[in-house]
Symmetry: C2
């Protein structure tokens, strides 16, 4: 289990969280560069076992809200989350004891390390998705406890700031935050979801920073040994490599603060010249990869994880970087148990995203389990 995050841990976390990010969560390479600069200045960040957190401790989540397509062009000023955290403390008159992770995916796995280091408080080894999702209400901290998204604070790279003291519901909180993020140029630092240690322990998907690190370390090892990186990654996640092929079409648009679209992947060497029965895979995404169809038939559905990695190196490919011609492998892995309850599926199941299909769960799963050591 990881106890602190040093410069050396950034690359494994970037790869692991990139894969766990299911295409979203923001670009992990850029997030890693930012984290490295803060660690160089302030030293390693303490990672806290969630079960060592006092029940009455006050925790928040910190991250970037916006469209990943924007975030690769509009770089952060660097202190957005710290300023949002201080603003929320000032507005509520309370002080945070630790920062938790909203989503373990991509850059947003690293933002809580940056925010914690800058604020001088530890980061909890726990997130609320065990992957990434596009919207705030899709957080197990929210649907798994009576914590609320509001009050929350948002700050952009310039001097724009906003506090939302209350929202009718977490969905309304998301709508307002999304529109504020759009006004802020589709990228802002967000500190939200004030909760107690007890609420976090009851609702979180735990030890996912340790899992991301382990997954990344195994992938790097496999890269060095020239072994099958996608297969190694799938094994770590108790999942499988369901497809290997070349991206033949990407339809992507940045709308309402999201990167939406679909990607088509054609299998290498089809069985017959006219194409075999299962030669075409399509994935729908809304920041994250949500639904896989093979030749039109749904085979994997949110909240189960759908991860695109490069075929040779097993490096994660986020949705904003999907492009024609890339040779990729598609990994499917079972979602953590916290996302599969009836309550959870109403918020993160296929219908929550507007897809008229049932959730067809993959068997097994390791995400959210306490690692050995």
């Amino acid at each position: 289990m990881l106890r602190e995050v040093t410069l050396e841990d950034i690359r494994p976390i970037a790869i692991g969280a990139g894969i766990l990010g299911t295409g979203g969560g923001g670009n992990p390479y850029l997030g890693g560069l930012h984290l490295a600069s803060v660690i160089r200045e302030k030293g390693p960040q303490t990672l806290m076992d969630p079960f060592t957190l006092a029940d009455e401790a006050l925790v928040c989540v910190a991250g970037t809200i916006g469209a990943p397509t924007v975030s690769i062009e509009k770089l952060p000023e660097g202190t957005e989350m710290l300023r949002a955290l201080r603003l929320l403390e000032q507005h509520t008159g309370r002080q945070f004891d630790a920062v938790a992770i909203a989503e373990i995916g991509g850059s947003n796995s690293m933002q809580p390390l940056i925010a914690g280091l800058q604020a001088g408080i530890p980061t909890v080894d726990s997130d609320s998705m065990g992957r990434a999702f596009p919207e705030i209400q899709m957080s197990s901290y929210l649907f798994g406890s009576d914590a609320k998204v509001a009050p929350y604070a948002m700050v952009d790279a310039a001097d724009n700031a906003a506090v939302v003291p209350s929202a009718v519901s977490d969905l309304w909180g998301e709508r307002i935050a999304r529109n504020i993020a759009v006004s802020m140029g589709a990228r802002a630092g967000l500190v939200a979801c004030m909760m107690s240690g007890a609420q976090l322990k009851a609702s979180g998907v735990h030890y996912t920073m340790s899992l991301a690190h382990h997954l990344g370390a195994r992938a790097i090892e496999a890269q060095e040994q020239k072994s099958d990186v996608p297969q190694v990654a799938a094994d770590v996640l108790d999942g499988e490599v369901i497809f290997r092929g070349k991206i033949s079409d990407v339809n992507r648009r940045t709308a309402k603060g999201f990167a939406r679209g679909h990607v088509r992947i054609d299998r290498f060497s089809p069985v017959s010249a006219r194409g075999s029965k299962d030669d075409r895979l399509e994935i729908e995404f809304q920041n994250e990869l949500l639904i896989v169809r093979i030749n039109g038939e749904v085979v994997v559905t949110t909240p189960d994880l759908i991860c695109i990695v490069t075929e040779e190196e097993g490096e994660p490919v986020t949705t904003e970087l999907l492009r024609y011609g890339t040779r990729v492998a598609v990994i499917a892995a079972p979602a953590p148990a916290q996302l599969k309850s009836e309550v959870a599926l109403e918020v993160v199941g296929p219908r929550a995203f507007g897809y008229d299909v049932e959730f067809c769960p993959l068997p097994g799963g390791v995400i959210g389990r306490r690692p050995a050591g």
Copy 2:
């Protein structure tokens, strides 16, 4: 000069502020019903001569932000502005001494009376436009002093609230507020523009509530005497009736939180059967009426006032109620001096709205002058 606002004053203010509203500011009839219910409960509202305000007094503006097209269908809960005012007081730790008027147009002329009554503080007989404009930064309190739009607070009819502690500029403050208003269903209560009595006195367009009341009273008198109401209204405003005719086309869409479009008016009995040279008038609007063309030639431009009233009764017609077949008169009147400086025209002149025409000022003007008595 009006010293307090009673139930009897509501109808004249509704008509006067409806005309001054240049098509915007929200429906004055609905605003009047709301104000009447609050006066019935709490008594008349004190109207304060701006020059009796202490230099160090703390003043805010209060109003409704959103699309007038929405506001006629989505009625307020009734305490939006009071809740926003208290939220801003709580966030900043300061107390307001009085409420000023953002725009004297339409319903937004009455909102500061409602907010003041509910909060137990007087309303200042001063606004920042002498008319209505669609965006927050178009306020003389802002471009005429060093006051800023942020910090501000917004509250909707339900339990959604937001505070914007800082904005890069007033234009950024407007963008963020507009998007929050859209999230809140294109209608929200807004309390903004914290300023001192000294700032208000230096930058406001004064005595416009008294002017609205006087204008409305003269119009009602003319209605009773069956005289030419549009002409009487034009005379009060030192303007003229530039056109009388029938609305023959309305193009209106609610986009990005605004009611945008244009209206065409055809002159009664054209001089020849083929139409005379000046038989067609067109007005462009963005919540408010901004540019008049007669047969394609620009004749009146923002910030000068363009007011549509019914031809017979002289009742104001707001943009959301423009419809085919209505017989109307168009009044043009000179804007207050505060809107015609170089600095002001950058914010409220034709180019600020995207029209590639120069401001062609009408001569004279009375708006903002101290009334007799």
